[in-house]
C-alpha cells in the first residue's frame, strides 16, 4: 500500500515484500517519490521480506538522503528484525559499520 498525503509518502507493505512484489512496488514508488518531501515506511503488516525487498527499502532510504528528504522507518516486525540481524544491518546506522 503506497499513498501520498500532503507531500508525505506513506509506504505500508503488507504480507510479503519479496522478489515477486518488488518490481510492481518500485514502479509505484518511483511515480510518487518525486512529489514527496517526506517518506514514512511502516513495516508492521509485513510477514516476510527477502533480499530484493531489503534492497528496495535501502534504495528508498538512499533516495531520500540524496534529495534531502526525511526518511522514517517504523513497525519492524520480528521477522524483519531477524532478517536484518542475519545481514548485520541496522536502520539507524544504515550498516555504516560495514562500509
Amino acid at each position: 500500500m503506497i499513498t501520498l498525503k500532503e507531500s508525505s509518502l506513506h509506504v505500508n507493505p503488507s504480507g510479503e515484500l519479496t522478489i515477486y512484489q518488488v518490481e510492481e512496488f518500485s514502479e509505484k514508488v518511483k511515480k510518487l517519490i518525486s512529489s514527496a518531501e517526506r517518506l514514512y515506511v511502516d513495516l508492521s503488516q509485513l510477514d516476510k521480506i527477502d533480499s530484493a525487498g531489503f534492497q528496495l527499502l535501502v534504495s528508498l532510504q538512499k533516495s531520500c538522503e540524496s534529495s534531502q528528504k526525511s526518511f522514517e522507518i517504523n513497525g519492524i516486525t520480528n521477522s524483519v528484525h531477524n532478517f536484518m540481524l542475519l545481514f548485520g544491518f541496522d536502520w539507524n546506522t544504515q550498516g555504516k559499520g560495514a562500509e
Binding site: 510477514d47 516476510k48 527477502d50 533480499s51 530484493a52 520480528n78 521477522s79 545481514f87 550498516g95
Partner: protein
C-alpha cells in the same frame, strides 16, 4: 522479445535439465526417507527446486514458478532446521516432485503456449494447501536464532569471508539470505555485515538485480571445501575470498595461538570449476561411433591390401594406424558407457511406493551399481526391469503376515556385474518362489502347452514369460493381465541378451538377465565354416582346440568330447547352418564360456582376433536363429556374428539341459 519462440528453441534442453534435477531430487528424498534427515541430501533437493524455478522464471513458465516457489519455501525452512523432516513430509515432497515434473512436461509439450489443465491446477491447489499448512505464516528466509541449535564442533576454525554476489543470482531464483542462514546454522559464532554501497537510488534500481556483498566472520568445524560447497551453485556468479585463522580446540592439548598474520591462509574462489564436463547430444556420439565403425571396416581393407602387397614398411605403418584406431574406438565407446547404478536408484521410489500400496514391507538392496554398460542398452533395459521389479513385489514377496519363519520384511536385490563380455543383471526376491505344478497347470489351461508334455524345470519357469500367461487370481492395476513379462522377454532378446530364471519354493526367485556390453563394435574371433565366415565375440572365447583323428573318433557323433576330464557339449556350426560338409577341414573347436559353463563350437578354420563393427540384419532376417548381426571384412566379404546365447540354448534343448559342463 518473443519469449515463447525462445522457449520452443530451448524446450528440449530445459526438459532434459529439469528431468535430471527432478531425478536428483527424488533420489535425495528417498535417501532421507531411508536414512533420516541429511544436510547434504536436503540441500540437493532445495538446489534442484531452486534451479528449476530459476530456469522456469527465465522462460516465464509462471505455473511452474508459482508452485515450485511454495515447495522451495518449505524446503528452505527444512534445511534451516525450522521445520522438522518427517515421513509424511518426505512423502508430500515426493508428490510435489512428481507434480513439478508433470508441470514441466506440460510446459514442454505445449511450448508454454497453453494454461495448465484443470487437473494440473487442482493438484497445484491441493499440494500447495498441504505445503502451506506446514509453513507457519510468519516464517521467512532468515532463521530465528532461538530455533537453530548450533552444532558443537570438535575442531573449530575461525574464518573471514568476503562475499560479492553476482548481479543475476536473484533472477536465477537464489536468495542470498538462504546461504547466510545455512552458514549460520552450521557455525558456532556468526557475524555478518552487509555492504549496501552498491545499491542505487530508487530511480536507478533494477529491483530484481542483486547489489549485495558481505563481510562475514564465523567459527565453524566445516572444512574449507564444505564452506565453499555452501555456495556451490552460485560460485560461477560470485566472488568469494575466504581467509582461515586456525584455532585448534581439540579434545587434547590446546596449542598456543600464533599471531593471526602468520596463520592466515588465503583462498580465492572465482568460478574455477575443478571438474569440467560438457553435455553432448547422444545422437552426436552415435554418429561418431558409426563413423569410427566405418573407419574400422575401411582400415580392415587397408590391412588386407598391405598384406597382399607384401610391403613390410606399409604393413608396419598400417599396424600403427590400426592400434591408434583401436584406442579411438575404445575412447569413443567409453563416452557412451554409463553406470547402471543410476537406473537402479530409480527403483527405490518404485519399491517404496508399491510396497506401501500393497501393505508389504520390502528392503531394496542394490549391488554392483558401478557396473558400466552402453547407454543405449541401459535405456532399453529400464522398462523391462520395471516390469520384473513390479512382478517381484506383487507376486513374489508375501505380506508380512504370510512370511512364516522368514523375516516379516522382504528383500528385493538388484545386482549387476560383468561376465565374459556381457553384463549380468540379477533381480532376486526372498518371496514365495515359483510353484512348478501351478505354472504347469496354468500353462495347460492357457493352451500354451499340451497336457502330459514333459518339460524341464527351466522350461516350466519360462512359461511366465509367455504372452497372455498370468498366475494372478485377479487383475489389478499392477499386474495380472498377462502382459508385461512377454514384452520383457522380447525386449531382452532384441538386445541380443537372454533371461534365466532360478527359483526355490518358499525361498524366492531370481531372474538373471545377460546383455551384451555394447551394441556397436566388439572384438571378435573370426572363423570359417564351409564357405561362410563367422565371428564369435572374443570375450566369450576361452580357447581353441585342434582335434586329431583319435579325438574325432571320440566325438560321440559331434555331441560332446572329454576335455581334460570334463564333458564339453558341442555344436556343429556347419550342420546347424546347413553349410556344405567338408570332412577334411572340420578339425577345430572354439571353446566358449557363457553363464558359468563351457561349450564347444565345431568349425573348419580359425583366423584369429578381428575388430567387428556390428551391422544389424534387415527385417527380412528377423526370424533367423543363431545370428545376431553381420560385419564386413577387409576384403569386402560379409561375416555373420554368432548369437552365442541362442546357440547355447539350442545345445541345452538338444541335451535336455546338460549340467555336467559346469566350469570349475
Amino acid at each position: 522479445m518473443n519469449s515463447t519462440l525462445q522457449f520452443s528453441d530451448i524446450a528440449k534442453e530445459f526438459h532434459i535439465e529439469s528431468i535430471e534435477l527432478l531425478e536428483a531430487m527424488e533420489n535425495s528424498l528417498v535417501y532421507i526417507r531411508e536414512n533420516g534427515m541429511d544436510d547434504e541430501a536436503i540441500n540437493a533437493v532445495f538446489r534442484a527446486a531452486h534451479t528449476i524455478k530459476g530456469a522456469a522464471g527465465m522462460y516465464k513458465i509462471d505455473f511452474v514458478v508459482e508452485f515450485t516457489h511454495i515447495a522451495e519455501n518449505v524446503l528452505d525452512q527444512v534445511r534451516n532446521g525450522t521445520i522438522a523432516m518427517s515421513d509424511e513430509l518426505s512423502e508430500l515432497l515426493l508428490e510435489c516432485k512428481d507434480h513439478i515434473q508433470h508441470l514441466v512436461e506440460f510446459a514442454v509439450l505445449t511450448c508454454n503456449e497453453e494454461a495448465p489443465t484443470q487437473e494440473l491446477c487442482d493438484m497445484t491447489k491441493k499440494l500447495g494447501a498441504s505445503l502451506n499448512e506446514i509453513m507457519p505464516i510468519s516464517l521467512h528466509h532468515a532463521v530465528d536464532v532461538s530455533t537453530s541449535a548450533p552444532i558443537t564442533p570438535l575442531v573449530e576454525k575461525e574464518w573471514t569471508m568476503q562475499l560479492k554476489l553476482g548481479h543475476s543470482i536473484m533472477e536465477q531464483g537464489f536468495e542470498p539470505a538462504s546461504f547466510l542462514a545455512y552458514l549460520r546454522k552450521n557455525s558456532a559464532t556468526f557475524d555478518a555485515k552487509v555492504h549496501v554501497t552498491s545499491i542505487p537510488v530508487i530511480e536507478a534500481l533494477n529491483p530484481t538485480q542483486c547489489y549485495l556483498s558481505f563481510e562475514i566472520e564465523f567459527t565453524t568445524s566445516m572444512s574449507k571445501e564444505e564452506i565453499l560447497d555452501v555456495f556451490d551453485f552460485i560460485k560461477d556468479d560470485c566472488e568469494i575470498v575466504l581467509n582461515e585463522q586456525v584455532t585448534a580446540v581439540s579434545t587434547q592439548s590446546v596449542t598456543a595461538r600464533q599471531s593471526p598474520k602468520e596463520e592466515v591462509k588465503k583462498t580465492t574462489t572465482q568460478a574455477q570449476p575443478t571438474a569440467y564436463s560438457i553435455r553432448v547430444d547422444a545422437e552426436k556420439i552415435d554418429q561418431l561411433i558409426n563413423l569410427i565403425g566405418e573407419m574400422v571396416i575401411a582400415n580392415a581393407n587397408v590391412v588386407q591390401q598391405s598384406i597382399d602387397m607384401k610391403n613390410s614398411e606399409l604393413i608396419e605403418s598400417v599396424s600403427i594406424v590400426s592400434r591408434m584406431l583401436e584406442d579411438i574406438r575404445e575412447g569413443a565407446m567409453q563416452i557412451r558407457m554409463v553406470q547402471i547404478g543410476e537406473t537402479f536408484n530409480k527403483f527405490k521410489r518404485i519399491v517404496m511406493d508399491l510396497s506401501k500400496k500393497l501393505g508389504k514391507e520390502i528392503d531394496l538392496v542394490i549391488k554392483g551399481g558401478e557396473t558400466e554398460l552402453d547407454k543405449t542398452v541401459v535405456e532399453k533395459i529400464t522398462d523391462p526391469l520395471v516390469h520384473i521389479v513390479r512382478n517381484a513385489i506383487d507376486h513374489g514377496i508375501e505380506l508380512p503376515s504370510d512370511r512364516g519363519d522368514k523375516s516379516h520384511k522382504g528383500t528385493l536385490t538388484l545386482n549387476a556385474y560383468h561376465d565374459a563380455g556381457t553384463v549380468v543383471i540379477e533381480i532376486s526376491d526372498d518371496g514365495k518362489g515359483l510353484d512348478e505344478e501351478m505354472l504347469y497347470k496354468k500353462g495347460v489351461e492357457k493352451g500354451l502347452i499340451e497336457e502330459g508334455v514333459v518339460l524341464s524345470q527351466q522350461e516350466i519357469y519360462k512359461l511366465i514369460l509367455a504372452p497372455g500367461f498370468s498366475t494372478a487370481p485377479a487383475v489389478t492395476d499392477l499386474s495380472g493381465r498377462g502382459v508385461g513379462m512377454d514384452v520383457v522377454k522380447r525386449n531382452i532378446e532384441a538386445l541380443r541378451g537372454d533371461i534365466e530364471i532360478k527359483s526355490k519354493k518358499g525361498e524366492g526367485t531370481t531372474l538373471i538377465i545377460r546383455l551384451p556390453l555394447t551394441l556397436a563394435i566388439i572384438d571378435g574371433f573370426l572363423v570359417k565354416v564351409g564357405e561362410t565366415f563367422y565371428v564369435v565375440p572374443l570375450d566369450m572365447v576361452v580357447e581353441c582346440i585342434e582335434i586329431n583323428d583319435k579325438e574325432k573318433a571320440e566325438m560321440h557323433g559331434n555331441n560332446y568330447i572329454n576335455l581334460r576330464g570334463s564333458i564339453l557339449p558341442l555344436l556343429n556350426i556347419g550342420a546347424f547352418f546347413d553349410e556344405q560338409k567338408n570332412e577334411d577341414a572340420r578339425a577345430n573347436i572354439v571353446v566358449v564360456h557363457y553363464a558359468g559353463r563351457r561349450y564347444g563350437f565345431i568349425v573348419d578354420e580359425l583366423f584369429g582376433e578381428f575388430q567387428t563393427v556390428i551391422k544389424p540384419l534387415g527385417k527380412i532376417f528377423h526370424a533367423l536363429k543363431g545370428i545376431s548381426g553381420a560385419t564386413i571384412l577387409g576384403s569386402g566379404t560379409v561375416a555373420l556374428i554368432l548369437d552365442v546365447p541362442m546357440l547355447i540354448n539350442f545345445i541345452l534343448t538338444l541335451k535336455g539341459g546338460i549340467d555336467e559342463s559346469k566350469s570349475a
